[in-house]
C-alpha cells in the first residue's frame, strides 16, 4: 500500500549486520552435540558395525532430507519470484552453507554400502535372484558410485550458487544476481527433483531390492520439505525475538505455518497413496514392505506396527487438527512445538524406513543411542556451520528488489495502528 517507501527508511544495512557473537550459546550447544556425537560414533562403529551403518543411514537421511527441504524453499522462492519470503531467505541460504557437512557425513554410509553391510543387492548373486538380475543394469556398483558423485556435485553446486549470488547482491544491488538465481533455479529444480528422487531410490528403497514404489521419491521429498520448513520456521521465530524483530512480521510466520500445515497434509496424501495402491494391488513384491512394518513376515512376528500407527497421528492428524486455525498458525507458542513434533516424527519416519530391514522383529531400542549419536554429530556440525555463516553476512538480502514488498503488509499496519492509537 502507501507505506512501502516509508519503511525502507528504517532499513539500515549497518544495523542488519549481526553481532559477532550472535547465538553464542547455540553455537556452544552445537559444538557439544558434535563432540558427544563423534565420541558416540567412535564407540558405536567398531562395537556393532552393521547396526551402526543402519543408524547412520537413518539419521543421515533425516538431516539430508531436511537440508533438501531448505534447498527446495530457496529454489522455489527464486522460481516463482516470491516477495513475502525475502525476509526469511537469507537465514535459509545460510542453512545451505552446511551442505558440505551433509556430504561428509555420507561417507560412513558409502563405506557401509560397499562393505556389504547395508544393501543386500551388493553381495547377492544375480544368478539366484531373478529380480536382481532384471534390475542389474541400475543396481551396479560402478554406476551407483557415479550417481552418488553426481548427486553430491549437484547439491553443492546449487547451494553454493544460490547463496553466492544472493550475498553478491548485498554489495551492489545489481539486477543480474537476481536474474542469475532465477535461471539457476529454473534448471536447478529439475536437477533437484531427479537427484533427490534417485538418491532416495539408491539409498533407501534399494535396502530391499525386491521392493519398488514409483512414488517413493516424492514420499521422501515431501517429508523432507516438512522438515526443512520446520527448521526455517524455528530459525525465523528465533530471529524474530532477536535482531530481525521488526522485519519478520506475523504475516511471514502465518505463511510459514500455512506451508508447514500444507506439506504435512501433502506428506499424508503421498503416504496414503503409496500404502493404498500397494494394499489395493496386493502383489507380494510390493506388500512385503508394509507387512514388515506391520505384524512382520517371520513366524515370531514384529512390533513395528506400533510405530506404523503412531506416524500418521504424529505427522499428520495432530498437526492437522492443531494447526488448522489461523490463530494457531500465527501463535509461536503453538507453531514452534508443532515444528518440533513434526521434526521428531520426520526422524521416526526415516528410522521406520531403514531399521525394519535390519531388525524385522521390532525397533532395536537398545541401540537407539547409536542413531542419536549420529544425529547429534550431524546436527551439531550443521548448526556450527550455519551459525558461523549467519554471523558473516547481513541478516536480510539488503539490496534485493523484492525486500520492500516483503516488508510491507499487514504486520506493518499493525505497527502503524499502534502508533496512531
Amino acid at each position: 500500500m502507501v507505506h512501502t517507501d516509508r519503511h525502507f527508511e528504517h532499513l539500515d544495512p549497518a544495523a542488519l549486520q549481526p553481532p559477532a557473537n550472535l547465538w553464542e550459546r547455540g553455537r556452544t550447544i552445537c559444538m557439544a552435540l558434535l563432540l558427544v556425537g563423534l565420541v558416540g560414533i567412535a564407540v558405536a562403529w567398531p562395537m556393532y558395525p552393521k547396526q551402526f551403518y543402519h543408524s547412520a543411514l537413518s539419521s543421515w537421511s533425516f538431516c539430508w532430507t531436511t537440508m533438501m527441504g531448505v534447498l527446495f524453499f530457496v529454489l522455489l522462492h527464486h522460481l516463482v519470484d516470491a516477495g513475502w519470503s525475502t525476509v526469511i531467505r537469507r537465514p535459509s541460504e545460510q542453512i545451505l552453507a552446511a551442505m558440505p557437512v551433509i556430504l561428509l557425513a555420507a561417507i560412513p554410509i558409502v563405506i557401509g554400502m560397499y562393505g556389504n553391510q547395508l544393501h543386500h543387492w551388493m553381495y547377492a548373486d544375480p544368478a539366484e535372484d531373478h529380480l536382481l538380475h532384471k534390475k542389474g543394469w541400475w543396481l551396479d556398483k560402478t554406476f551407483l558410485a557415479i550417481r552418488l558423485v553426481v548427486y553430491a556435485i549437484a547439491w553443492l553446486l546449487l547451494a553454493n550458487r544460490l547463496r553466492k549470488n544472493s550475498i553478491g547482491q548485498d554489495r551492489d544491488g545489481a539486477a543480474h544476481w537476481t536474474i542469475s538465481n532465477r535461471r539457476w533455479s529454473a534448471g536447478g529444480i529439475m536437477l533437484y527433483g531427479l537427484t533427490v528422487t534417485f538418491c532416495a531410490f539408491d539409498l533407501l528403497m534399494a535396502l530391499d531390492h525386491h521392493w519398488f514404489s514409483t512414488v517413493f521419491g516424492v514420499y521422501v521429498w515431501s517429508g523432507g520439505v516438512v522438515g526443512g520448513l520446520c527448521v526455517i520456521t524455528l530459525v525465523s521465530l528465533k530471529l524474530r525475538k532477536g535482531p530481525l524483530k521488526q522485519y519478520i512480521g506475523s504475516d511471514q510466520i502465518h505463511d510459514l505455518g500455512k506451508l508447514v500445515f500444507a506439506f504435512s497434509v501433502f506428506w499424508a496424501y503421498i503416504a496414503f497413496s503409496q500404502y493404498f495402491l500397494i494394499w489395493y494391488g496386493n502383489i507380494p513384491e510390493e506388500t512385503v514392505y508394509y507387512l514388515k512394518r506391520w505384524t512382520g513376515v517371520a513366524e515370531e512376528g514384529s512390533t513395528w506396527w506400533f510405530i506404523s500407527i503412531l506416524m500418521p497421528i504424529g505427522r499428520f492428524l495432530a498437526p492437522f487438527l492443531i494447526l488448522m486455525s489461523a490463530i494457531a498458525k500465527r501463535n509461536p507458542r503453538v507453531l514452534a512445538p508443532m515444528c518440533v513434533l513434526l521434526l521428531f516424527f520426520h526422524w521416526v519416519d526415516q528410522y521406520w524406513m531403514v531399521m525394519p530391514e535390519k531388525s524385522p522383529a521390532g525397533p532395536p531400542l537398545q541401540y537407539v543411542w547409536m542413531d542419536l549419536a549420529v544425529l547429534a554429530a550431524i546436527v551439531g556440525g550443521c548448526g556450527m556451520m550455519f551459525i558461523s555463516a549467519l554471523r558473516k553476512q547481513a541478516l536480510l538480502p539488503v539490496m534485493d528488489p523484492r525486500l520492500v514488498e516483503a516488508l510491507s503488509g499487514e504486520h506493518v499496519e499493525e505497527i502503524e495502528h499502534a502508533e496512531v492509537e
Partner: protein, 178 residues
C-alpha cells in the same frame, strides 16, 4: 397525498483510503453497530478498523467437512452390512478403500457449506441494496469511499449522526431511502 418514504440511513462520502480508515475507526469508537464501509478495492487494516471479529465461516465449513466424512463412512459401512459382497478377497469393512470416498465427500460438503454459509452470513440473496438507489454511490466502484450508518441502529439520530459524519471530514452526506 403520497406515502412518506422511510429513511434507511445516512451515506457519507470520503475521498481517500486514509480518510475512510480514520472514519471507520471513529464510527467504531462512537458505538455504532449497524453500519458498513464501501470501497472500490480492499483496504488493508479495514477489519480491525471496523472492529470486525473473525468470520464464523471456518466453523461452518469444518462442520460441513466432518458431516461429509461421517456420511461417506456411514454409507459405506451400511452398504457392506446390508449387502455384503466379496471383492478382491478383501474384508467387507476395509477402511483403506472407504477413505477415498470419505475424502471426496468431505471436500464436497465443505465446498457446499462454504458457499451456502457465505450466502447466509451475508444475508444473500437480496434483490437490491438501499445504497444503490442514490446517484452519489456510483463512484464506489471508482475512486470514492463510503460509510453507511443504518437508521435501525440504536444510536442513530438524523441530525446528530449527520453532524458526526460531517465532523469526520466527509465530502458529502446524503440520506438514503429504503
Amino acid at each position: 397525498m403520497s406515502e412518506a418514504r422511510k429513511t434507511w440511513g445516512l451515506l457519507a462520502e470520503f475521498d481517500s483510503p486514509g480518510a475512510i480508515l480514520r472514519a471507520a475507526r471513529e464510527t467504531r469508537d462512537a458505538g455504532y453497530k449497524r453500519w458498513d464501509v464501501h470501497t472500490p478495492y480492499p483496504i488493508h487494516g479495514m477489519d480491525p478498523a471496523m472492529g470486525l471479529g473473525r468470520s464464523k465461516l471456518g466453523w461452518i465449513v469444518s462442520g460441513g467437512a466432518l458431516t461429509g466424512f461421517l456420511v461417506a463412512m456411514g454409507l459405506q459401512y451400511y452398504v457392506n452390512w446390508e449387502y455384503p459382497l466379496i471383492h478382491q478377497g478383501k474384508p467387507y469393512y476395509s477402511w483403506q478403500a472407504f477413505l477415498v470416498v470419505g475424502f471426496e465427500l468431505s471436500v464436497l460438503f465443505a465446498a457446499f457449506s462454504a458457499v451456502l454459509g457465505m450466502f447466509a452470513l451475508n444475508g444473500l440473496p437480496q434483490w437490491y441494496h438501499p445504497t444503490l438507489k442514490h446517484d452519489v454511490f456510483a463512484r464506489a466502484s471508482d475512486d470514492r469511499f463510503y460509510v453507511a450508518i443504518e437508521a435501525s441502529d440504536d444510536k442513530f439520530d438524523p441530525v446528530q449522526t449527520r453532524e458526526f459524519l460531517q465532523s469526520l471530514g466527509a465530502v458529502s452526506v446524503v440520506e438514503l431511502e429504503d
